[in-house]
Subunit: 199 residues, 4 copies
């Protein structure tokens, strides 16, 4: 049984340092100024790269923004141990994430990605696959385990519960009408748990 060999890789290989420089430059500029206010030229100059090189690997500014921010985003993820308590697990899931999201002007970038996703279904898929689904999946596991344990009734609409958990946090992040802090996250989890009949 032979593993599929990597192809011989003809031609000059992609320069990893350039790739990283572009992503770093994009992330820094976009977080500081917002995606729309940053030009591809500026990113190219900051990265010491060529605009053509950027377009060779990222078709649009938004796809670059997604990769660039996701790089920081995913680097700052820590998995928590399941504790047996649904409430505690949900708080442990949401709190670090909400702290990260509120720690820098990520909301501005998220809003830009969201905006781009509205008119581009392919990009919407990319966006959800990176920023939405992984986090929902973790929540889904916690809730499914709770159903198996009998802590939550078996006819519970898990997807609805996930929206009840993430929706309010996104709401505050994006609309900016109030701050997102640990108290708020705990409050959301408390009401939802109470609503599901969890002690």
């Amino acid at each position: 049984m032979t593993t599929t060999e990597a192809p011989p890789a003809r031609g000059r290989p992609r320069d990893e340092r350039t790739r990283v420089a572009i992503l770093d430059a994009a992330a820094e500029l976009m977080l500081e100024n917002g995606v729309d206010k940053v030009s591809m030229d500026t990113i190219a100059v900051r990265a010491g790269a060529s605009k053509a090189t950027i377009y060779r690997w990222w078709p649009t500014k938004e796809s670059l923004a997604l990769d660039a921010v996701y790089r920081q985003w995913s680097a700052a993820q820590a998995e928590a141990e399941p504790s047996g308590s649904v409430r505690a697990d949900l708080v442990a899931l949401l709190t670090p994430w909400s702290r990260l999201a509120a720690s820098k002007p990520y909301a501005r970038v998220i809003a830009a990605l969201l905006n781009a996703a509205q008119s581009n279904p392919d990009f919407a898929v990319q966006y959800r696959a990176h920023f939405v689904e992984p986090r929902r999946e973790r929540g889904r596991e916690i809730l499914n385990a709770a159903v198996r344990d009998g802590q939550v009734p078996p006819d519970t609409d898990i997807e609805l519960v996930l929206d009840l958990l993430y929706g309010p946090i996104y709401h505050r992040l994006l609309q900016g009408h109030a701050t997102v802090d640990d108290r708020f996250v705990r409050g959301v989890v408390d009401v939802v748990c109470a609503g599901l009949g969890i002690s």
Copy 2:
């Protein structure tokens, strides 16, 4: 006590038909194509107006989008009678609104406004004053009445509850990972009411 008379109005008065034509053209084009894909030139041509006239009354494209869409939005509002049941009142508040929001590609425009608001605090205030606060205020009244009635404990964090109600719906509208229908809205209200200890 005299009502404040309109000022003498020197020169040619503002043309109301032009104002409406601009708003209509902007709303139609932006709903169909998304705010970013529509240029001010296109709106001007469609409205039979001059670009200078548009900029005279609206400083940015987003402020025009806000006015244009809010005009349709507010025209389609109906106030429901308070029924005595918190749950029923909340459903009566959220359902027509969620139907409206999902009836056309409003989410695309909302996302654009939200995006603009991230980098422009003044516009963020405008946005919230038009699209967020009026609806929250209606919900706030319902919940405050419930507190007065004793249906809800007096230490309830009303703002958090409002986010629990609106957040999930906005979440689905913007992220597009699932549809917003009456069942979903009722589900949200059910869990939240249960969480608050409402029968």
Copy 3:
């Protein structure tokens, strides 16, 4: 009898100073560096104009080069009096023109126009209408007059004679294998006149 009135001219009129600034900048830069070595951006900056404004009035760099150089070219034209002598008239026609052509690196610009004309029939027509035909026409008049006078046989192929007069001068200008001076021009006219049987 009413002269055809110019139409009311709606909108902001074209800025004549901008037009002249663009032509001057283009002429100066192109003569100094050659058409190909000058970028539209550079011309725009030098003219204090916008690139978009240039493209609004001139579709290609070559069409701009044509207008710009023709402006200098045509300004430096002086008409000579017919003297009765074909030879003298031809010398009087060709000498000032050849001096002008050799006075600055016009040949470099002409070569660029010629090159562009090879692949663009419409531009070729423009080029000939500006740089070739007016001068040929003057020569044609002289030669036709000579035919009427009987100085030249009536079956003379005028167009061929014109090519015999202009061809050698263009040849030296473009190929650069020898200089174009008054002696050369007179020599060309002498041989051609002798070939036509003119005393």
Copy 4:
């Protein structure tokens, strides 16, 4: 006196088939589309060669164009026997050459070379050494022989006569205001010979 031996030739020798493939591809593409419209990438792909290989042997696109077209050009040359008649010898010199030049869009390539030569003295030398001098030299021989024979006065300016012969043909080829056919060539030779006092 020893002929300088080729050096021992270390390393892999140059691939002759590649050289020919590049020249063929360049000639075909440039004649069909014009030098400026053809990119080095396109030539490389058509030739099945690498762009780096092209640049290794030809410093600029124009130098490649020169080699590529000269290859066809020189392959189609036939030497005519001296006949004793100057007029006949000149016609025999110019006619096959003018036929060749007019047989394909060579003028377009010539114009590009000429254009490049205007801004690059070294290339101008190359151009003349390939396309101008060999032909002039043949004409020079004919005319010098005519001087020796006494058919032409000894004080004749041979270079001027050469320009009178080649200039008009180049003029029509490049300016395109009239066709170059055998009649035209014979007409040029006739007038020039008459001008020189040749029967």
